[in-house]
Symmetry: C2
Subunit: 292 residues, 2 copies
């Protein structure tokens, strides 16, 4: 595997940008190729077989672009489709669930109760519960779907009274349950970190599954000797005519399957910057991959 | 055209059931075939070309099942794709926009201001504004996207404090604008009729685009001589072993492209009844239409 290839990231849409940001912060000398499947977003209300099909198409698209490693930024796809993705592509695959579960168990530090907020399909899969209980048997896991959080984040309402009322409705009951840590198991939820923290109380450690996965990716590339070389780094910066890497700069490439304009708009809301290289593509019918 | 064929209805998902209900109330002796494209829902944030492609696949699927008339229950597909659908299928096509616009202009009764709430893509298309101004030039049309309404309706939160706060946030400013009528231009919004009415004030006439379209469908089938015959009606009831038609009974057939269980669950929330005949199908790749 060529260690100078970029890291691939796919998500059902724009939410995975929070994972891209976490990776970029931890591994700023890597390059990234991001795919948002905006033509079929969201995955969180869809079935196992459909999410598997979409995830494999996305993974194959990124592999066709040349990547050394694939990050499944979408928690729903991570919960439902990682085995199918691993079987379909020849690169290492990192999902959100294992990393998020490990971080939660560490943060809970022996406490018997952990919470998870995620999409309907992730909760229904029980993937986080299984992963947490495998690491720390006897842990009680409280899982809750919070579908309105996605719409609130994309609307730019993260800091509003509406967000506070919604978070209280979903999470208020958690305050009585003595939960030590809460996994934000959907890419959009870290955007609402402040109101989530308020709703569950300051004593609960919030786990950003994207940050946890970024740490796992760093460990993996060091273990496998896949870190980008210093020589290549310098070449990259020269190519970009830059002195340092920045979020969404020319060295990272973004693809969407639909509505690039809306993606750029929400990206700006989430990251404070819109991708400079953003392209609409089709990822279905992998035999005839064509930019649109 | 065989007048005893069912009426086809498609929507991006479950929201079109409000249109099915309106049709069923107005034309209870007709039979209906409903397709919810739950594998690719929602359409309201997607682009023109993607919505056109999905809409044509849905329309062709329903035509392959045998229908006399097609109702595009999804407002976004109605706003973006009706010309493309008409070109693709050999049956009459009724969308939401024309009917909703006509009902709004009538209800506004000469007032210069009409409001429209709809999805992002419907608002961006300007379809309602154009249709209203074509009927009543000089009307000022105030359009607003209300993305959280869909999640609120599906969550079963229509009558909650959260819904009231969200409706106030979106629509409170309308109260000062002297709007005579407000089109609920997304299938989910009639579920929130009560909080919408509260937010805009009792003086504003709410237009349910589904009810308006049902009236248009009735006019069309009478004009074209397409009403189901009395003989066939009796046969239908005998077939069903029933004395009267009911919402979601055995005589209506429902298809979804994904997650039938979730569809049935939300249908029960919206209609008070779940479809008795509900089947998952694939509608893409029309050459090889297969039930899954």
């Amino acid at each position: 595997m060529d260690r100078n290839l970029p890291i691939g990231i796919f998500d059902s849409g724009v939410g995975g940008l929070t994972v891209y940001r976490a990776l970029h912060e931890r591994l700023p000398t890597e390059r990234y190729v991001y795919l948002g499947d905006t033509a079929r977003v969201p995955y969180g209300t869809k079935s196992l077989s459909t999410v598997e099909r979409y995830a494999i198409e996305n993974a194959r698209f990124l592999v066709s672009r040349g990547i050394k490693l694939l990050v499944v930024a979408c928690n729903t796809a991570s919960a439902l489709a990682v085995p199918a993705i691993r079987a379909a592509v020849p690169v290492p695959v990192v999902g959100m669930i294992g990393a998020g579960a490990r971080a939660a168990v560490q943060a809970a530090a022996g406490s018997a109760r952990v919470g998870v907020v995620a999409t309907e399909s992730t909760v229904k899969s029980g993937a986080y519960s299984k992963a947490i209980k495998a690491l720390a048997p006897g842990t009680e896991v409280y899982e809750r779907a919070c579908p309105l959080f996605v719409a609130l984040a994309e609307e730019g309402w993260a800091e509003t009274e509406v967000a506070r009322v919604v978070a209280e409705e979903y999470l208020g009951e958690l305050r009585g349950l003595n939960v030590a840590a809460l996994v934000m198991g959907c890419t959009h939820y870290p955007i609402l970190r402040r109101v989530i923290q308020e709703a569950v109380g300051a004593g609960v450690r919030l786990i950003d599954s994207g940050e946890a996965a970024a740490a796992a990716v760093e460990a993996l590339i060091d273990r496998e000797g896949l870190r980008r070389t210093a020589t290549q780094e310098l070449r990259d910066l020269r190519e970009a005519g830059a002195h340092a890497r920045h979020l969404c700069d020319d060295l990272d490439h973004f693809y969407v399957t639909d509505a690039a304009e809306r993606f750029a708009h929400v990206a700006e809301r989430f990251l404070g910057a819109a991708p400079r290289r953003l392209e609409a593509v089709e990822v279905w019918g992998q035999d005839e991959l064509q930019p649109r």
